[in-house]
């Protein structure tokens, strides 16, 4: 699905989708005998009620901005990068691996080096899907799904077989010079896990905006996403654009994984499932309609839901999974925006219909539902 044509009503669609998602959550809570007002109150309190909570919420949003930006750029080029989780995982592994392999590097080289290792690993992983799509027409949806699981089991084997000490299921902790957390940040946020990665994430969102709006590559990516045939006819190399978009997408996802390694956990452990930041990043980007500033806000919302959700289950017996039900519902309504638009634009639509019937059919408005036929 292409998310194009931002207009004034898009922000309203996101807000209405959030509202409807919260409403679904409230109904589920009511049906199962919990008090939604109390639970949502505790959620807000748990997410922004103290310096520590704010720190945790911001930390939780940090990787989502990066994976969200990664999803958005691939999506602009017409790719559904479902492989963010795998790309983040290899990025996480390689950033930690770099840090523990060269423990004596000074800070100014260590952190950029580890970040670069993460970004390159993510780019390599998504690049496989980009190349296979560009040269063989292999569906990036299937290839990235398969690469996700390859990444999951591959990184687990590397952690257990090559990195962990003894029989552990986790790597050694990264050296102090590679840490994005600092005593200063811990002090001001009351010992939360907040780290400097947020600045990197915001820089990435600004980079996304600059790339898409101000560069030739960004223009080509959007053009290929909207109409690959026309772009090829106009002399653009669609293969090159496809691969470039996927490489940047994977690099951003890899950086998202590096945030977990260098900031949040400060190591990497054997995982039973793919990291949440992959699918959450996708949701973040869909909710934001691909807009870079929107991605920052929508990642913050996800951070609030995630961290605040923990507080729900501490203060009541409501299962913490309620938060995931809410986020899935929000994305459902974003996807089903035809429904929202139908009510929202009823008046505009009526007006357009009138205008349409006045113009000859050949210039009539194209139905907006033809989107997405090439995503498979």
């Amino acid at each position: 699905m292409q998310i194009k044509g931002r207009n004034y009503s898009s922000i309203w669609i996101s807000l209405i989708a959030i509202f409807l998602g919260l409403l679904v959550g409230a109904i589920v809570m009511l049906l199962s005998g919990f008090n939604p007002i109390e639970d949502y109150g505790n959620l807000i309190l748990g997410a922004v009620g103290s310096p520590n909570a704010i720190g945790e919420t911001l930390r939780s949003a940090t990787p989502l901005i990066l994976t969200g930006a990664g999803f958005a750029i691939a999506n602009s080029a017409g790719f559904f990068n479902i492989g963010l989780a795998g790309q983040a995982l290899v990025g996480w592994l390689c950033s930690v691996w770099f840090a523990i392999t060269f423990p004596n590097l000074p800070g100014p080289i260590m952190i950029p080096g580890a970040l670069l290792a993460g970004a390159l690993a993510g780019a390599f992983w998504s690049g496989i899907a980009g190349v296979l799509r560009a040269f063989f027409g292999a569906s990036e949806v299937i290839v990235t799904i398969m690469l996700n699981y390859t990444a999951l089991y591959g990184t687990n084997a590397i952690i257990k077989g090559m990195i962990a000490k003894g029989n552990n299921d986790y790597s050694p902790t990264i050296p102090v010079a590679a840490r994005l957390r600092t005593p200063f940040l811990e002090r001001i946020t009351d010992n939360s896990t907040f780290h400097w990665g947020l600045l990197i994430a915001i820089a990435a969102a600004i980079f996304l905006w600059w790339l898409m709006k101000k560069t030739t590559l960004g223009f080509e990516i959007r053009a290929v996403g909207m109409n690959p045939d026309a772009s090829r006819y106009a002399g653009m190399s669609t293969k090159k654009t496809i691969i470039a978009a996927m490489l940047i997408s994977g690099a951003l996802a890899g950086l998202g994984g590096a945030m977990e390694g260098l900031g949040n956990f400060q190591n990497i452990m054997v995982n039973n499932a793919l990291p949440d930041i992959g699918f959450d990043g996708m949701s973040v980007s869909l909710l934001a309609g691909g807009s870079p500033i929107g991605i920052i806000f929508s990642a913050l919302l996800f951070g609030i839901l995630k961290i605040g959700g923990l507080n729900i289950s501490i203060t009541s017996t409501t299962p913490p999974e309620i938060v995931n039900i809410v986020t899935a519902s929000v994305i459902f309504f974003v996807g089903a925006q035809y429904l929202i638009r139908y009510f929202f634009d009823r008046r505009t639509a009526a007006k357009e219909r009138k205008e349409d019937s006045a113009t000859p059919p050949s210039t009539g408005a194209k139905p907006q539902t033809e989107e997405g036929s090439d995503t498979k």
Binding site: S32, I142, Y153, A273, L286, K376
Partner: protein, 319 residues
Amino acid sequence: MNIQTLLMTVISTSLIYSAPLIFTSIGGAFSEHSGIVNVGLEGMMVMGAFASVVFNLAMGNAFGAATPWVGLIVGGLIGMAFSLIHAVATINLRTDHIISGTVLNLMAPALAVYLTRLLFNGRGQTAIIQHPLATVNIPVLSKIPFIGPVLFSSTSPAAWVGIIVSVLSWWILSKTRFGLRLRSVGEHPEAADSVGISVYAYRYAGVLISGFLGGIGGAVMAQSITLNFSVTTIVGQGFMSLAAMIFGKWHPVGAMGAALFFGFAQSLAIVGKYIPVVRAMPDVIFTVAPYIITIIVLVAFIGNARMPAADGSTFIKSK
């Protein structure tokens, strides 16, 4: 271990691991032939697994030996009910099929674990079921010399049912009126509509059948392999089924064949301990093999395959 026992172990384990994929991938084929892309198979499996385990725990004493089989139906029905979300979203609300399927995958584990916590005093996983889908010796067939013991003794009955269902599905899709109409809706909905076939009804049928079979697939997984329900009961089998369907070129029997192959690849990691050459290789090779093979096959052979022409499209009935 002699060759007969070895073959028996490999085949029996392959069938056990294939069975969930067989049902789910055939379900995927029905959905896609009706024109609805279904990346939500994973979510449907989760709901089927959850429902069958809850049923098995609650009604095991009442149904006795029939429990797991009734559990399959219950899992299928809940999977079907859950797939309604996908049907309404893609058919009526014009949602992008991949986004809708992804919502299913996000929603199912959240909802199922939420309900598990409500039903089992806050715990995120259920107890172990007492009436699993056990391996059986198929009467008569297991008496055939050599082939009998290898193929039909201590084998997975669900896998054999799945194989029968795949042939049946092929017959339905290519020989019956219902199947031909279903496919016409996935190939050229406008043409189907113009001759009076209800595109919406057939697309609903395709998605609901995929929900039913996906639910059964999840129920087979839970009742024969994991034996309880938790968030890790279904980890990627739905995506594997999707791959099997594409690998099998949208053909039910092809999908079944691909599912058998994936089951075989997974079983190698387990029975590999008994095979000298295989034993020397690191486990991870077998764990990732199905995924890498899927990519290779996709790149190398899929060129010949053609997905249903209108797969992934939204049909809007003109006035």
